[in-house]
Assembly symmetry: C2
Homo-oligomer: 385 residues x 2
């Protein structure tokens, strides 16, 4: 949304959309395009989406993801209330542990897919995708009869992702971080600036998130990481649509919303429907489990010339002349030399190998249902712990 360092002036329309603590730094380091996510600007372009992808998979990138706002739940009943929001067993979650959770409404529709961080027995963060989870949580709390406080604290994450991210992290903050386990976090004092550092991300690569707990230090933190990391292979960048679609990682609003349930998404493993604790959507999810679903989230490989950029609309999918669903996300992967896509299609059209037709922005293309993730050297998705 902005092209010139130091100002969003040319494309700013007031304060309805917030800047992040890293916006100035991102502009200074070459950001040329921004999107909007959780009412805040997010850099989505540094001039070359393909180079950003190679930077991520070969070296490391630093991304402003302050748009991942935190919904903080504290108070005497914080644990019970947080479980009420999450259809996943949190009873074994330890302080210092993260969990990927799918929040659903009373009908089982997806509200968000945050990463949960347990900071203390009565202190949780939900690090959210693009919807106002704070309003959902506050609404559920109105009549829940539980003693909790729900706020959005001054917390702004950065993502440090890529195979060189571990060395860069240790160089920036200390060798003790080298053994940080997957989906674990630690609190860290960086010269008086409070941070939370987790081994999480949204890239399907080795990576970390650095949660800054003092927005006024944003510029300084970015510069520190680039100064230390630059010589070790760190590039300024942005979350890579290419890599996340390769990894079949979901993007809320794009791939799923209230109209979709976790079974359609193949998220069964994230649902603990038989625990004793109550949570919103339990009855609906049990019913859906028992009745089965009529459509499924699948991977597609599309024929034809390389796609230019991402799809900017949901593309209709046809099977034997009948409409069966829509493409949610599509992109050309330079590594796979394939057009890869994610789609929601009727159960009857969802088997691997099924041939389909997709009405892409530039015309009809043949497609075939393909295994996902499209690329997964470790046979594991990053966001499933």
């Amino acid at each position: 949304m902005a092209a010139s360092p130091g100002a969003f002036a040319r494309h700013s329309f007031g304060t309805q959309v917030r800047r992040s603590p890293y916006s100035e730094a991102a502009l200074r380091w070459g950001a040329t395009g921004f999107s909007v996510y959780n009412h805040m600007y997010i850099p989505r372009d540094f001039g070359d989406q393909v180079q950003n992808f190679w930077n991520l998979v070969d070296e490391a990138i630093l991304c402003d993801v302050a748009v991942e706002r935190q919904v903080e739940i504290t108070g005497p009943d914080a644990a019970e209330f947080t479980q009420l929001l999450c259809p996943r067993d949190l009873s074994t979650c330890e302080v210092g542990q993260c969990k990927y959770v799918i929040l659903v409404d009373a009908d089982g529709g997806v509200i968000n897919d945050p990463i949960l961080l347990k900071l203390a027995e009565d202190h949780f963060w939900l690090s959210i995708a693009d919807s106002d989870v704070i309003l959902w949580a506050k609404g559920v709390a109105v009549h829940a009869g539980l003693d909790v406080t729900i706020t959005e604290p001054d917390v702004s994450p950065l993502q440090l992702q890529g195979p060189k991210s571990r060395d860069i992290l240790c160089a920036a903050f200390g060798e003790h971080l080298r053994d940080l386990r997957y989906y674990r976090f630690v609190e860290h004092d960086w010269d008086g600036v409070p941070l939370v550092i987790s081994r999480t991300g949204w890239s399907s690569e080795l990576g970390y998130e650095i949660f800054l707990r003092d927005g006024t230090a944003g510029d300084r933190l970015w510069e520190h990481l680039m100064a230390v990391g630059g010589p070790l292979g760190l590039h300024p960048g942005h979350t890579s649509s290419i890599r996340r679609i390769e990894g079949a990682m979901l993007s809320y609003q794009a791939d799923m919303d209230l109209s979709v349930n976790p079974f359609e998404l193949g998220m069964d493993r994230l649902l603990d429907l038989d625990i004793e604790a109550d949570f919103v959507g339990k009855a609906a999810l049990r019913r859906i489990r028992d009745e089965g679903v009529s459509r499924r989230f699948v991977g597609l490989v599309l024929d034809g010339a390389p796609l230019e950029g991402s799809n900017d609309d949901r593309w209709p999918v046809v099977h034997d002349g009948e409409p069966v669903g829509y493409v949610t996300s599509a992109v050309y992967s330079p590594r796979l030399d394939r057009n890869i896509a994610l789609a929601i299609v009727a159960d009857a059209a969802s088997a691997i190998g099924t041939t389909l037709q997709v009405t892409a922005g530039d015309g009809s293309r043949g497609a075939v249902v393909s295994p996902k993730p499209f690329h997964d050297p470790k046979k594991r998705l990053a966001a499933t712990t």
Copy 2:
């Protein structure tokens, strides 16, 4: 966010942000800049913000405001539940009537300021500003024990605003609409396409909103209005920051959010705290009423050269060397030949005539607290019925 007809390609980053049913038409008619609001693109620039202002106040403009999504509440307990969300007495609201309402959370913080439309005794729309009211409403409903259905229907509003809007509306849909009263609406069948037409808006000018209830007819509706309206003075346009700040109309996220309460905003007249019916926030609002507030929403006139565009960040406000608040919205009004702004400042700095200092994007400026609205020929705000 997009500059070339027919595609958001250059600045699109996938389907995380939705297009509106009017996006193609807006591009075709000259939209050069988009913002994002309720997860959807909204045109905010047709090349000349000042010309758009004059088009609005002298003739009429057509604006894509499909981002005003509707939260639809139906079911046997719809009336009781809708009242539960609204700190305003809805008992006298008639079918066919609109109400401007301030939704608050249990602590009295502002969640949204929608226009409510009562379509039937058990059928309501909340036509929302920029936050996920559907999640709030669904959350409140979880334990409310009321039988309601809450959805986002296929409804996409246009705004037709300006002194010539009445003639254009009648030419487009019939003379029977000439007598449509302020904050009233009618259902209208436009050659088989269902519309709701209300005398509402967000411009402080005479104006209407046309709620399209079939997104596939968006392009056709826009073209019909421009074909009929063009010879009568209709211009493609966008909501005018200049005019709405002149009118001191609030913009959610920009001027208010969860951290602000309606008393601080001077919205006392929209609160019915002594009705028998229950609503969320009643106890908190009564407490705030009794205790009073320590800061207030005020108008400011800023010294110095005309501001360029809008403020893209909240500007600090200082009184006698002490920080006392921040500017939420600021713009140069060509009609008033003044830099006008809205701000939240400490009670002690809020009296008309108080002199302040504002740290604007281009340096410090003197400011004086001034009566608002800044321009109001009718001595009435548009959005207060």
